[in-house]
């Protein structure tokens, strides 16, 4: 009974296939941490989404320990993701169940388990300083700086960013 029941009630909180390539430790260690974590990665935020908005929404699942905004590595401005840390695993599970896939600032946001914040992980890892996905995407997204960085350069080839 437990096996079928478990899958009935736990699919929202399963870990995804994403693994942090910069994680210091083995895959199994990372997975172990993901399964007990109470830190969540939140993605697809608008660059203009504020910490206050994040606090307001995510407090609905429990007491927040802290929010760490994701920043452009060079500009040090928000680049569309953040980490939300709860005090308990239960609160973060509720976040996966009820907030993941709903809207914040009119955008559908994605929540995923994170193995734990480490200094440096608040910076984008894309070449131009933001998130990797903003380097390669080809659509126009007004909340995330317009076109993806690589194709944006094709429009204005003389303004390469360093």
């Amino acid at each position: 009974m437990k096996r079928s029941y478990d899958s009935m009630v736990n699919s929202s909180i399963e870990i995804s296939s994403y693994r942090d390539q910069h994680f210091k430790g083995s895959r199994s260690e990372q997975e172990r941490l993901l399964r007990m974590s109470s830190t969540l990665y939140i993605g697809n935020l608008s660059f203009y989404t504020t910490e206050e908005q994040i606090y307001e929404l995510f407090s609905k699942c429990g007491d927040i320990r802290r929010v760490i905004m994701g920043l452009d590595k060079y500009k040090k401005t928000p680049c569309g993701f953040c980490f939300v840390e709860y005090y308990t695993r239960l609160d973060s599970e509720n976040c996966m169940r009820y907030i993941n896939g709903t809207r914040l600032d009119d955008r559908i946001i994605r929540c995923d388990w994170d193995a734990g914040f480490v200094e440096g992980r608040q910076y984008g890892r894309g070449k131009t300083g933001g998130q990797v996905r903003d380097e390669y995407r080809t659509d126009y997204d007004g909340g995330r700086g317009g076109y993806g960085k690589i194709i944006a350069q094709k429009f204005t080839p003389n303004t390469l960013e360093r």
């Binding site: 009974m1 504020t50 910490e51 206050e52 908005q53 609905k60 929010v67 809207r103």
Partner: protein
């Protein structure tokens, strides 16, 4: 099972290997059986009857090997999926017809489960057990006479003296809620006993106290829908069912198709069941009111909404609540299950779903699950039925808004939270103009208050310009002010303020990354306006210096005003200064006052900062409570965030007490375990020593007890402050109105007394511990009856 022994003879190894294979085969078969049983009744290419027949044959064949597992799985399913009760009962009936012994074993097993659930306080599970046992009469597994004896003994428990009413209520509720299944059968076989049972129940219902009822009503008026007490409602529904000779058409009864087989089976009788007696620590389900917001006129042409006192309404609502209970952890699945409700063609399904979800959301004292659980399920429902669900929700919102004048204030808050959250997922699209009439109403009237609060919450989820953009011009009075800090030391007129120079110095100092001591130095020269005359510095016990606090708190927090993280960093860096300044309760209240002065246009920041200061122990809970009830905050009594701060403060205290209590419990258990095991292991020198090191010392446990006791004292003091202030402020109002010969029942009064009630309800488990103190010290007989009533209703909730 996987251990390989190196020197095993081939013969033995083969045996082991064969056994291992058999075990894993067994596991597979068990899993398959479990899956088959779990899924019976779900969508299938064959009819339910043929599936049941097939499954019964399969199970019969496996009875010898898997008897115990099958007993367990069948029982688990019947309890976890009570809406499939009749399906599983039919299955048991078919098995009983094939194998009388198994039937007997099943009866024993389900009775054992029933008793176990009663003993461990699993009241819902016990109720579903009883329903299942009752349904077994329909399948000729149990004799009707045996069942009626059981029901009689349960109803006897309702007439026991000296036990809480909530316990007695449960027994009657359990029996009544089983009757829709088995009423007809009992009517045909044991009519006079059934009648007698109902008379006993009726007498009980007439005698029981309903003091708790007003505290649980979502609306205080009875129009257009009476907020019925739950037992009253069910009784009315059962009486109507009886009038219809117990024929109900809602519950599917697969056993009818197998009547010829089943009536050949031999029936069993129940063993005698003695419900466990009441113990002081036992808790029982709280009473409820039945939430109604729709009647059949609200629904468009189509299937009719069953009447409030029809048994169908009860069964449908039970079923929908059970679906939510089963799937509340998976919102998409929950929405899907709700929408494929098996009898949806017969009812206006979306209306029933919305009513049931709001029933849970507005449930008093508290909703069963997180508010956002319901909010997100409603969003999923809108996604799955985009052409009907949003319209029903809009209609529901209009109805709730129309009746908001008499809505309980706790429910009002939840309505505000839900509506703003829902709007934030749908681009804030709403026909605000339809509510333009509210601009003419008194600002404290619930309707304009609702709009203001909703826009305030929407602002928190978005930004100021957005709120201006989504509201019509006429709503400008409702749009919150731009949420900026008000820093008086850099505004016009700052030159005449006593603290301005120090404030500017502090700004420079902090920007130059000064230490906390250096910051304190800047404040050192500031005079203390509280000190009368000239006193040498160390002569008398100095009161706190409000000017120092003003300059420091407002300047520092203004410097950190860019974001929550900036403010937290500032508090963290200068925590030392805060602690020095927050020397007394008055000083802490002064700090809070200054936080408020700076951030009064940004209620969210006030909440977040107070929360942080509690966490970092800059201020104490009692200081926050005293501050909230102070004269300066009185004008904001009808603003939601004042109560947000109060409840987060009480929550913090409660969590602290719970944490210490839990830790003490664990330590005591660890100590007890270590003690009992060390007495058995005197020979094991080394390991005993390790156990001694692991277990907590008696002194450590004693210290934990002391800390818990201190925490309890703090908690009691906090509640005393809160309730005392409520009483003072309400009594003042009543006396003033009496003197001026005015009607005391103003919007402010209704809202404030609602807030008092909210404290009782939201924190009832914690407040209960201090009931007698509250009764002796505060809620005495000489109090105004309206105020005293709130206390009595609270006591009645668990009486």
């Amino acid at each position: 099972m996987n251990r390989r022994r190196a020197h095993e003879e081939e013969d033995g190894y083969e045996r082991l290997h064969r056994k291992r294979r058999r075990v894993s085969e067994n596991q597979e078969i068990e899993d398959r059986l479990e899956s088959l049983i779990l899924r019976v009744g779900e969508k299938s290419s064959s009819s339910l009857e043929s599936n049941l027949e097939g499954l019964a044959s399969v199970l019969e064949a496996d009875l010898s090997t898997f008897r115990v597992k099958i007993l367990r799985i069948l029982t688990d399913c019947a309890i976890r999926m009570p809406e499939k009760c009749t399906i599983y009962a039919t299955l048991v009936g078919l098995l009983n017809a094939k194998n009388y012994n198994f039937g007997g074993e099943f009866v024993d097993y389900i009775v054992k489960t029933f008793k176990e659930n009663l003993k461990t306080g699993k009241w819902n599970a016990a109720r579903y057990c009883l329903r299942f046992i009752s349904d077994l009469v329909n399948c000729h597994v149990l004799a009707a006479s045996s069942l009626i004896t059981l029901l009689e003994s349960l109803v006897d428990c309702a007439n026991e003296d000296g036990v809480p009413q909530v316990r007695r209520d449960w027994f009657v509720f359990a029996v009544l809620s089983a009757l829709p299944w088995v009423g007809r059968e009992l009517y045909e076989k044991k009519e006079s006993q059934l009648e007698h049972l109902l008379v006993t129940i009726e007498v009980f219902l007439n005698k029981r106290s309903k003091k708790h009822w007003p505290a649980l009503k979502v609306w205080s008026t009875d129009t257009p829908h009476l907020q019925e007490e739950y037992l009253d409602c069910l009784w009315a529904q059962i009486k109507k069912l009886r009038q219809d000779n117990w024929s109900e058409k809602h519950i599917p009864r697969p056993y009818l198709a197998f009547d010829s087989i089943l009536c050949e089976a031999l029936q069993h009788t129940l063993p005698s069941i003695q419900p466990p007696p009441h113990n002081d620590n036992d808790t029982y389900p709280m009473p409820r009111v039945i939430f109604r917001m729709f009647d059949y006129t609200d629904c468009p042409d189509g299937p009719v909404l069953p009447g409030a006192h029809s048994i169908e309404r009860f069964l449908i609502e039970e079923h929908l609540h059970n679906i939510i209970e089963a799937y509340h952890l998976e919102r998409k699945e929950c929405a899907a299950q709700l929408l494929c409700f098996p009898y949806k063609a017969k009812i206006p399904l979306e209306y029933c779903i919305v009513e049931v979800i709001f029933a849970e959301l507005f449930n008093l004292p508290r909703p069963r699950y997180l508010e956002i659980c319901y909010g997100s399920i409603l969003i999923e429902l809108c996604k799955l039925q985009p052409s009907s669900m949003p319209q029903v929700l809009a209609q529901a919102t209009e109805i709730l808004f129309l009746r908001i004048d008499t809505m309980n204030v706790a429910c009002f808050d939840r309505f505000v939270n839900w509506f703003s959250y829902h709007l934030s997922n749908f681009q804030y699209r709403w026909s605000w103009e339809d509510w333009e009439g509210c601009t003419q109403l008194d600002l404290d009237h619930p309707k304009p208050r609702f709009i203001r609060e909703v826009l305030g919450k929407c602002l928190r989820l978005s930004y100021h310009q957005r709120i201006k953009d989504i509201t019509p011009e006429t709503f400008s009075a409702f749009v919150p002010l731009k949420p900026e800090p008000i820093y008086k030391y850099s505004m016009e007129g700052a030159a005449s303020l006593p603290g301005t120079e120090a404030a500017h110095q502090l700004v420079v100092c902090v920007r130059n990354k000064c230490t906390p001591e250096e910051a304190l130095n800047v404040l050192r020269e500031l005079p203390n306006p509280l000190r009368e005359g000239e006193q040498p510095a160390a002569a008398q016990a100095a009161p706190h210096n409000p000017l120092k606090i003003d300059v420091f708190v407002q300047t520092l927090l203004n410097l950190g005003s860019k974001s929550i993280s900036h403010s937290f960093a500032a508090i963290s860096k200068f925590h030392y200064v805060f602690k020095i300044l927050a020397e007394s309760e008055e000083a802490q209240i002064c700090i809070l006052r200054n936080v408020w002065e700076l951030w009064q246009r940004h209620p969210q920041m006030v909440c977040v900062l107070v929360d942080k200061m509690l966490k970092t122990q800059i201020v104490e809970c009692s200081a926050v409570a005293t501050w909230l009830f102070s004269k300066e905050m009185a004008p904001y009594f009808t603003h939601g965030y004042l109560w947000e701060v109060l409840h987060l403060t009480i929550d913090k205290m409660n969590k602290h007490v719970s944490k210490l209590s839990g830790e003490l419990q664990e330590a005591r258990e660890a100590l007890a375990r270590a003690d009992s095991s060390s007495s058995d292991s005197e020979d094991e020198g080394g390991s005993k020593k390790k156990k001694d090191q692991d277990k907590p010392t008696e002194e450590a446990v004693e210290r934990m007890e002391e800390r818990l006791e201190a925490a309890h004292m703090d908690q009691k003091r906090l509640f005393l402050i809160v309730f005392q202030r409520f009483i003072m402020i309400l009594s003042e109002h009543l006396v003033r109105c009496d003197t001026d010969a005015r009607d005391p029942v103003t919007h402010w009064y209704r809202s404030t007394i609602g807030r008092l009630q909210q404290v009782f309800l939201v924190h009832h488990e914690q407040v209960q511990k201090y009931s007698s103190t509250l009764e002796t010290l505060l809620f005495t007989q000489d109090l105004d009856p309206h105020i005293l009533d709130v206390f009595h209703q609270f006591v009645a909730l668990t009486a």
